[in-house]
């Protein structure tokens, strides 16, 4: 077809097309080398190095080759093929690990369906029988928020802008967790590199999240909406699902062991939950108040879950329990906001005031009790706020080194990757942050981040045009 078309064209026109095609090819070809021209060997010299694995090096060098740290120390021979970065005045840290986040996550439409089920009213009144009515009120897995098979990396968009802003504060690795539903899915450990998701994944599945606030709204009302609508409903749903997953395994085992046995129904969700019951994967439960923490501990105990607590905003109040039961904590440094009100007579409840004012001291209290924790951002919108809040925890008594460890080696250990990540040592992944000073200092800026040995120049984020004039504009 194409050839016959070409034949019908004039000679001159034909030449033009050839020229255009050649140019297009050249442009395409020239785009390729730009990528491969990215240097594979770097030498960071004259830097202050905080390896976390050992004592700081006041003036040293790090050699990075093909994504791996080849050498680090005060007296390192710089290989001739290295691109040298003079880091005089800069401090190098291991890339920070945010062990529970939503960085880059753009949850699928199916998962959105789980949230939308809240708003979908149950079938109309006046149905004929109780049974079919109740059946139709129970939606399939997706709508029910039972999607334990989802893996976060499948829903990460490498071009998502939060990835860039996380890198800009020194976060190079993160455990991304799906959020929607009650069994939203499995967390993926990724490096914040790209440009393809395949280049980012460290572990496609590290853990499961059970979201006891899955519906968001909280208190279930008198009716409408899908089950479960209240906290006690969510707990019942979670327990029933874990029981079902247990029975599922028993039924399939009988079927497989003995000819003549009935074949159970296949369930994608219950199948996916098997590592949870076998304790092969850890389960993350979010809890903040002592009562919520107790609820999570009870649930974990009754199903023998391999529990990791996330949040723990008031964990300091039950630090001794967490310590004695040896529960690892993903400590979210989200601090409660001041209650928004325009009521001049408003007087904040003492409890709320306490929670808010005492929030930054929580991390120090957990550290003092010897609880093992990693600092995480959970769903904070802005990664800069995350680091700022870590700074506030330090002001409130958290040891600086403990804070750094809680963002590097501790999460690496919790996630089983401490042989590759979390410190600046030979043979570790070249995830590095070059900052203008102490990383938790408000004035410090990150100049470069290395992720998997790829160098990212951090540009100061431009103030967004809508920022100053937009929302808070005059007259409002």
């Amino acid at each position: 077809m194409t050839l016959t078309c070409m034949r019908s064209l004039s000679h001159r026109a034909r030449w033009r097309i050839y020229t255009l095609a050649c140019m297009a090819f050249l442009i395409a070809a020239s785009a390729q080398p730009v990528k491969t021209e990215e240097p594979l060997v770097f030498a960071i010299t004259n830097a202050k190095i905080i390896p976390v694995a050992g004592a700081p090096i006041e003036k040293g060098s790090i050699v990075v080759r093909r994504g791996i740290i080849e050498a680090v120390g005060a007296n390192v021979t710089i290989p001739p093929d290295a691109r040298v970065i003079d880091a005089a005045g800069l401090t190098v840290y291991p890339g920070l690990i945010d062990a529970f986040s939503d960085i880059g996550l753009e949850e699928s439409t199916a998962a959105r369906g789980a949230a939308a089920a809240t708003a979908t009213p149950a079938p109309g009144r006046g149905a004929q029988q109780a049974q079919p009515q109740q059946q139709s009120n129970i939606p399939p897995d997706e709508r029910q928020g039972l999607t334990a098979y989802r893996r976060a990396f499948e829903e990460i968009n490498p071009a998502n802008r939060k990835i860039e802003s996380a890198r800009a504060v020194g976060i190079t690795t993160t455990l991304v967790m799906p959020r929607r539903g009650f069994f939203p899915g499995q967390g993926s450990l990724v490096n914040l590199s790209g440009p393809e998701i395949s280049q980012m994944v460290i572990k496609p599945s590290t853990s499961f999240f059970i979201n006891l606030a899955g519906r968001g709204g909280g208190g279930g009302g008198g009716g409408g909406g899908a089950y479960p609508g209240s906290l006690m409903g969510i707990l019942a749903f979670v327990k029933q699902t874990l029981l079902d997953a247990d029975q599922y395994a028993v039924a399939w085992n009988i079927y497989q062991a003995t000819p003549g046995a009935e074949r159970p129904e296949y369930s994608r969700a219950l199948e996916a939950l098997q590592p949870v019951l076998k304790r092969e994967a850890f389960v993350i439960l979010a809890a903040n108040s002592p009562a919520e923490i107790q609820r999570a501990l009870d649930l974990a105990e009754s199903f023998k879950l391999n529990l990791v607590l996330m949040g723990c905003g008031e964990g300091g109040k039950v630090a001794s329990t967490l310590k004695s039961r040896n529960i690892p904590v993903l400590l979210a440094v989200k601090y409660p906001d001041r209650p928004a009100t325009t009521d001049p007579d408003f007087r904040e409840e003492l409890d709320s005031l306490r929670r808010r004012v005492e929030a930054p001291a929580n991390a120090a209290a957990l550290a003092k009790a010897g609880v093992r924790f990693a600092l995480v951002s959970d769903d904070m919108a802005n990664p800069r706020d995350f680091i700022t809040n870590v700074g506030r925890a330090i002001e409130a008594g958290l040891d600086r080194d403990v804070a750094l460890r809680a963002l590097t080696l501790t999460p690496a250990e919790l996630l089983g990757v401490s042989d590759r990540l979390g410190t600046i040592e030979k043979n570790k992944t070249a995830n590095l942050v070059l900052a203008t000073g102490d990383i938790f200092d408000q004035k410090t800026r990150v100049k470069y981040a290395f992720v998997d040995g790829r160098k990212f120049d951090i540009v100061e984020p431009q103030p967004s045009p809508s920022g100053a004039a937009g929302r808070g504009g005059p007259g409002r």
């Binding site: 009716g223 906290l231 019942a236 002592p290 004012v357």
Partner: protein, 464 residues
Amino acid sequence: MPNRFKIHIKILFILAVLAMVCAAWAQMGSSGVVLIKDATILTVSHGNIAKGSILIRDGKIAAVGPNLTAPAGAAVIDATGQFVMPGIIDPHSHIAIAGGINEGTLAVTSMVAIEDVLDPTDINIYRELAGGVTTTLTMHGSANPIGGTNAVIKLRWGKDAKGLLFKGAKPTLKFALGENVKRSGAAATRYPATRMGTEDVIRTAFIEARDYMRAWDEYKKRVAASDKIAIPPKKDLKLEPLVEVLRGERTTNVHGYRADEMLMMLRLADEFGFKVNSFEHGLEAYKIAKEIVAHGAIVSTFSDGWAYKIEAYDSIPYNAAIITRKGGMACINSDSAEEARHLNQEAAKTMKYGGLSEQEALALVTLNPAKELRIDDRVGAIDPGKDADLVIWNHHPLSVYAVAQKTMIDGEIYFDIQKDQEMRKRTEEERKSLEALDKKNAPQGRGRGSAPDNFINKIPHRQD
């Protein structure tokens, strides 16, 4: 000079000893021996003792009588001129629950449990202690025919969720009939929409529960016969509590207003061979006292209040008294964190409306709810051997002038009107220092007024 010095040392020594004794006393109060002396004791089980004492040992009532002396080392509470009664038991409440009191999305939600979501920080626990309440049945709401399992709690303010539980109380399950269930006045999106639909839902659920029992029995038989391919049925959290009801291991609290719906429930219970333990509210119970008494159901009702919805039009303040006179058992409940703070006064109304005796009136909020909850071997009256759950009042508790002075659970004081005053000062100081810190932390934050709490919006209402 040296003499005076010696005196000083002596005084210091005496003070130190006194301090130690005081500390020991404080200890005693929480774990050892306490004597409440010279009070008017309203035992509820066996009349009043004009000037009597109660000896408490290890959280239990050790002795009650007119002539008790404090053993060595006992802490003594002088209650001269005051009145002691058993701690009030509120058999219908929705306090101390986190994340919603209704799972109203389905018609049958017996899989949900109040015990899972107890909130030990609900301030209503403390406020109700100030009204003399020591034990509460905190319940699932009445949005659906079969709600969740309820929790019997003692108001041990300051303890964690598990520390609230009344250990050994019989498990219960909430049912509901009538307008709330059929979604009158609400956006009706869920079956049932009528009273006959409600009956159908409950019957269907029990049929399902019976099938479930059979399935398990059959499975167990097959396993016993060493059948290797027997697959266990799914454990069903919704049906388990219903099976327990059928086996008599779990009691039923049935929310109902109208006589016809209560009669329906009695017939349905007979059909499946279980008992309606209590009708909650049961405003028209007086119309069918004979049937209710014959079945043995307890009526847990309001003292008064009516016409707040159609099904409450025939409510009368004589309900509790009529049930009592017809040989049945009635309780007065609050269904409201506010009303729970004056259940003594609610009980007193039955003396005016229906002529109940003082002891009968007090029993409506003590011994009778204890019987309803099957905890009358532990609480509900002042008898030796029972838990030391007591309230000390400045006036007779059936008087409108009565104010609780001390409320005690398991021999431990959880509310003390004097300590409360000191505590208010301390919390006010704490607030000031927190507010100062808050300002320091965020100087750009807007200032706050310091007008008193917006109280009106926070008055708890009956859940009806």
